[in-house]
């Protein structure tokens, strides 16, 4: 299989003024097949969000390169869209206008972006809230807007930076299940970042475990569980075995940091 996203030998050091440089990632390799759901997990500060921003094209790596479909990326592009951790909604825009943002920036005609946005608002279950402002929505609803906004531009790759971290546990479970349903329908390639082992195991085809800072690829674990997956699957022994494997790999890294 030729990977759709191929990130090789990615390294990035932050050099803040008047402070010690921070080596965020070093030698990170990730490959994602077309339509695959891959999740990065690792201890906090391991550079997984930084890596996602590199793939998005907001940050340039010092070493290595990211290719998508064989082309090296140099900046943001229409084939990629991000779902942000703290939602990143524009507070002065209604739900509809927020979902339209990406289409607007790509100069899609008003009628077309309207139609497309309404379609996605329905898909994420927010029909009736088109004219609401973000501050009138719950966290779960805000992230539905974030998801609809990313999907509106019809990207090949969906990048998700701890999208459910700010949500309460029940909303989170619900959103995970809905994300899987949307993903199975749309067949997007997903690169997902989380610090939740459970979330990684539940959603992914493969889980990439990143080492403690500077982050590099430590291990890749294939999640060989049947799809479609549902909440009950999380109670099976196979699922818990996988969680344990991921946990044990991450634990070594946590101990490295502590020691």
């Amino acid at each position: 299989m030729i990977p759709y996203i191929r990130a090789r030998e990615i390294g990035l050091t932050f050099r803040p003024k008047n402070r010690e440089p921070v080596r965020a990632i070093k030698g990170l390799d990730v490959e994602v097949g077309r339509g695959e759901f891959v999740t990065l997990v690792g201890p906090s500060g391991c550079g997984k969000s930084t890596f996602l921003n590199i793939v998005l094209g907001l940050l340039r790596p010092d070493t290595g390169e990211v290719q998508i479909d064989g082309r090296r990326i140099t900046g943001p592009g229409p084939e990629r869209a991000m779902v942000f951790q703290e939602f990143g909604l524009l507070p002065w825009r209604t739900v509809l206008a927020n979902v339209e943002l990406g289409l607007e920036l790509r100069a899609v005609p008003a009628a077309e972006r309207h139609r497309r946005s309404l379609e996605l608002i329905q898909m994420v279950g927010l029909t009736g809230f088109e004219r609401h402002y973000p501050h009138e929505l719950s966290g779960g609803m805000k992230q539905r807007v974030g998801l609809a906004r990313a999907l509106a531009t019809d990207p090949e790759v969906l990048l998700m930076d701890e999208p459910f971290a700010a949500l309460d546990a029940q909303t989170r479970d619900l959103m995970q299940t809905e994300l899987l349903q949307i993903w199975e329908k749309s067949k997007k390639t997903v690169l997902f970042v989380t610090h939740s082992i459970e979330e990684a195991a539940y959603l992914s085809d493969r889980v990439v475990i990143i080492s403690a800072r500077p982050g590099r690829t430590k291990e890749i674990i294939k999640i060989d569980l049947p799809r479609p997956r549902d909440y009950e699957m999380r109670l099976t022994p196979q699922f818990n075995d996988l969680k344990l494997r991921i946990w044990e790999t991450i634990k070594e890294e946590l101990l490295v940091r502590a020691g």
Binding site: R80, G88, P91, L101, R106
Partner: protein, 262 residues
């Protein structure tokens, strides 16, 4: 509609009016029944109302109001046109901030009304000097609030717009400007108060017409009720402008107006 229902719908209006009515009533009663007052030093609401009726309703002060309004509008418009761009550039360019911040902060903090005589020497008695004083007093809230607004712009939103292919122009129009707007409106609220002081001081110092001139004339001739009717005009102007601003905020920044009114 019963009184209770009317109250439930307009608690802000009713409580606001009520506190004014109580103060005026107490003032009136105190001077009518309790304190034997000398009309050279004190006056009371009923006399002010009569003077207000005479001066305003019958039109003697209108000319002064029109003259003062011109200087007020001119100075304030200039403050907006100059203050907002300076604040925006200071917020966006670190070096401009470093260069201008100490200077502007010093000016903002100092009692600029002291410059009134200088302005009158420079521009003569009349519209220009008054507008200049209004400008000097009201420009700083626009500068500093615009600066704070630009600086407070959420980096994440810049990233969001960039990631969807936004260019620098999009960042200004779709993120920085709307995120700064509520700060500018808050600045305008401060600026209006300072601009009214500017008009008044300008006309106290040197003028032959205008509301400030009228107030100081009445004061000098011990016509207290008339003097207060002039002050009342300023109060009404201040309240009306602030209310207009609140309405404007609801139109241009509904997301923040709703949050702050709660």
């Amino acid at each position: 509609m019963g009184l209770g229902a009317f109250y439930d719908q307009h608690p802000r209006l009713i409580l606001g009016v009520a506190s004014i009515a109580v103060l005026e009533g107490a003032w009136e009663l105190l001077l009518t029944y309790v304190v034997a007052y000398n009309p050279f030093f004190l006056t009371k609401p009923s006399l002010i109302a009569a003077a207000f009726n005479q001066q305003i309703i019958q039109g003697k002060l209108w000319k002064d109001i029109a003259i003062s309004s011109r200087a007020f509008a001119l100075g304030l418009a200039l403050a907006i046109l100059v203050g907002i761009p300076i604040g925006a550039v200071m917020g966006w360019r670190r070096r401009v901030e470093y260069a201008l911040d100490p200077l502007l902060t010093a000016l903002y903090a100092s009692p600029l009304v002291a410059l009134a005589p200088v302005l009158i020497i420079a521009f003569g008695v009349g519209l220009t000097a008054k507008a200049a004083l209004v400008f000097l007093l009201s420009v700083f809230p626009f500068v500093f609030n615009t600066f704070a607004g630009v600086r407070a712009t959420d980096r994440v939103l810049i990233n969001v717009v960039t990631s969807f292919g936004g260019k620098e122009r999009d960042l200004y129009l779709k993120v920085i400007l709307p995120s700064t707007l509520p700060y500018i409106v808050a600045g305008a609220r401060l600026a209006i108060g300072r601009a009214l002081v500017g008009i008044l001081v300008g006309e106290f110092y040197a003028a032959s017409e205008g509301i400030g001139f009228a107030i100081s004339q009445f004061g000098d001739t011990y016509r207290l009720a008339e003097m207060f009717s002039g002050i009342l005009v300023l109060c009404i102007a201040a309240v009306a402008l602030t209310e207009a601003l609140r309405k404007l905020e609801r139109v241009v920044a509904p997301w923040s107006a709703e949050q702050t009114s709660r």
